[in-house]
């Protein structure tokens, strides 16, 4: 299987790097404590590198762990993750020479929530899931189901335009071609609604928000030392989870991320109450693309969008 070979190569490479280059650590994935789950592995011990895995469940955007680190780090990065790393380099939060990027071409990550919905079974009742080209085979209780990959991959994987990292030091695996863009269905459906209906939709969604701030904690682009939501002088919003303050938090966060969000989708995945956060962040992402012809994390030399100014800017923004 493709993944097995890549995994072997990754382990070899990781061990080599840990021995030869003065790395402080390597960040990758290892088998998680639940079925079909992986978990970040952060280690400086070459023996631990044996546990590194590559499979269709390596969902985390590991670039999140680069912030505030000292010394040199080798990091496993899928296409989307490599964009986040580049975006962090653009923002001067990470130095290019401090990271050794182990690029992993990625055909898409499987969304266990979708598998659960399609099979009607919880993940701990499923025996095996394997990705085979455009098909995903799921076996449970003797039965086997076959699904189109497009039906079980995460939404943002469906329209991934950088499955193969553009920025890397070592590429592990065969490059994967970008997929044709798939319009963000949920977002577009929302845009069809009348403003009053949209408002009601978000009011309903954000009444479930528990202010766990997982969206913020898991986002590589949310790296402020003191988030505006934690300020009390002035107090921008109430720490109490009223739906109005929850909505205000998320909208403001999306705006703060303009030009830095790479639509990796981690915020939506991490949200424990299933708020469709990408419908907000993706909208910001598209606005930035439309208005400024800019996408974060494409070129490490270019200045961050909000930190750059051209004298000939689009003035039709200013009314």
């Amino acid at each position: 299987m493709k993944n097995e070979n890549s995994q072997k190569k990754l382990i070899e490479e990781a061990k080599k790097l840990l021995k030869e280059c003065r790395l402080q650590r390597i960040i990758g994935f290892e088998k998680g404590s639940l079925r079909f789950t992986t978990t970040p592995l952060i280690t400086y011990d070459a023996a631990d590198a044996e546990r590194l895995v590559i499979n269709p469940f390596i969902v985390n955007n590991l670039s999140n762990f680069l912030i505030g680190l000292e010394g040199k780090t080798a990091i496993v990065a899928k296409g989307c993750d490599s964009r986040s790393i580049v975006s962090l380099i653009q923002d001067n939060k990470v130095k290019r020479e401090d990271v050794v990027i182990l690029g992993i071409p990625c055909a898409g990550i499987i969304d266990l929530d979708k598998i659960e919905k399609l099979t009607g079974r919880d993940r701990d009742k499923i025996d095996d899931i394997s990705l085979n080209g455009e098909k995903v085979l799921v076996s449970f209780n003797g039965e086997q189901g076959e699904f189109a990959a497009a039906d079980v991959l995460f939404d943002n994987c469906l329209s991934c335009d950088m499955p193969t990292p553009a920025e890397y030091d070592v590429l592990i695996g065969e490059p994967v071609a970008p997929k044709p863009p798939v319009p963000p269905q949920e977002l577009n459906e929302l845009k069809e609604k009348l403003p009053a209906d949209r408002w009601r939709f978000w009011q309903e969604q954000f009444s479930h928000c528990i202010r766990c701030y997982a969206c913020r904690s898991i986002c590589p682009a949310c790296f402020c030392n003191r988030c505006f939501a934690d300020e009390n002088k002035p107090q921008w919003l109430s720490p109490t989870p009223h739906w109005q303050d929850n909505l205000l938090f998320q909208v403001t966060r999306s705006i703060h991320l303009a030009g830095r969000c790479t639509d990796c989708g981690e915020c939506e995945r991490a949200c424990p109450v299933n708020i469709p956060l990408r419908s907000l962040t993706r909208e910001m992402y598209d606005i930035v693309n439309d208005v400024f012809d800019y996408r974060a994390g494409m070129e490490k030399e270019s200045a961050p969008l909000m930190a750059a100014y051209e004298t000939e800017e689009a003035e039709d923004l200013i009314l």
Partner: protein, 347 residues
């Protein structure tokens, strides 16, 4: 002496309807898009098809997301404070799992000790728990390691257990017994029903696949408290969000904030998390600005401090933290990998 009855699945709606007459009835539902306990809509009993456990723990009934502590207004005579009225109706939580019900007992220990927490107690006193034994634990469940089981009735007033066509209904407390006696829509349970329920309880026990050794866990944690290298390594992948704490049935830390309105304002209590970096922040210093200290504090509070204060571990093995952590940080792995040798004498 407990009263034992039964209810058939097809009659569940009638039972719930009857109870709804006298209680605010809360059942598992997907009404809010996520598995939670919400007020029964009067007809839907389909939760019996999918319900294993909710995402939002029922502790929210006792410690709501937004609790108005009092409102204030300023008139000619100065400030006037007004506390919200006490809960009007008694509420009944239908289908609470043993782990979540035991959690209520653990929360009681903190909220009843020394000062009475009137808000919590108001909700608690008015809540009757009708438990539902687990017959299908998650792979992440580990209640049996924490002095409990899929059928542990110690926290509930009435316990239901799956049997072939419905549920066995057993009273546990006097309040539960009283309710059963006053309930029409229950049938007599046969000896076979009781035997079947007992056998189902046993087989559920066998299905728990996750175990930790909690023997001397408090001492082990005490010995490894100052092992910074261990805690640094174990906490490296934690992202300091609040999911584990906010969705834990026994976590209770809260925040208090004032809000201003045109007429005056209100003081609200809302859940907080020791995982947040600002949780212990003072102007002068922050004793837990380091992530590893916060992770250590959380583990130690549950498995070392609570036993010191109340002789109970503040964890019921529900497994939500493991299932919902965005990086799959697993407390059972941490507890199983505590350094066995004493690092150094604490002081």
């Amino acid at each position: 002496m407990s009263i034992i009855k039964k209810i058939d699945k097809k009659d569940l709606g009638k039972l719930l309807e009857e109870w709804k007459q006298n209680f605010k009835l809360l059942t598992p539902s997907l009404q809010s898009g996520i598995a939670d306990f919400t007020e029964w809509d009067g007809k839907d009993t389909s939760f019996t098809d999918w319900y294993r456990n909710t995402v939002i723990p029922p502790k929210r009934i006792l410690l709501p997301l937004v609790e108005n502590m009092f409102s204030y207004s300023k008139g000619n005579e100065g400030y006037r404070l007004e506390t919200p009225p006490l809960d009007e109706n008694k509420q009944l939580v239908f289908g609470i799992r043993p782990c979540d019900a035991k959690a209520f007992s653990l929360l009681d220990m903190t909220f009843k000790k020394d000062y009475q927490d009137t808000y919590y107690l108001n909700h608690r006193q008015n809540t009757l728990l009708v438990g539902l034994s687990c017959n299908d634990p998650y792979a992440s469940c580990f209640c049996t390691s924490l002095d409990s089981s899929p059928s542990d009735a110690s926290g509930v007033d009435i316990m239901l257990t799956d049997i072939k066509y419905g549920w066995l209904v057993e009273s546990v407390t006097a309040a539960g017994e009283e309710l059963i006696q006053n309930t029409e829509n229950l049938e007599e349970a046969s000896e076979e029903d009781r035997t079947e329920a007992e056998s189902n309880k046993q087989s559920a026990l066998q299905k728990i696949s996750r175990h930790i050794d909690t023997k001397d866990i408090s001492e082990k944690l005490h010995k490894s408290f100052d092992d910074e290298a261990f805690w640094q390594q174990i906490s490296a992948k934690c992202i300091s969000c609040g999911i584990c704490t906010l969705l834990c049935p026994t976590c209770y830390c809260f925040d208090i904030n004032d809000e201003v309105t045109v007429e005056g304002g209100s003081r609200y209590r809302s859940p907080d998390s020791c995982a947040f970096s600002v949780y212990t922040k003072m102007p002068v210093e922050n004793p837990r600005s380091d992530k590893w200290k916060r992770v250590r504090n959380r583990v130690c509070h549950k498995y070392q401090v609570y036993p010191m204060l109340f002789d109970e571990i503040a964890c019921t093995g529900c497994g939500r933290c493991i299932r919902l952590c965005p990086v799959n940080w697993d407390i059972t792995q941490t507890l199983e990998s505590l350094p066995s040798s004493e690092v150094k004498d604490a002081k």
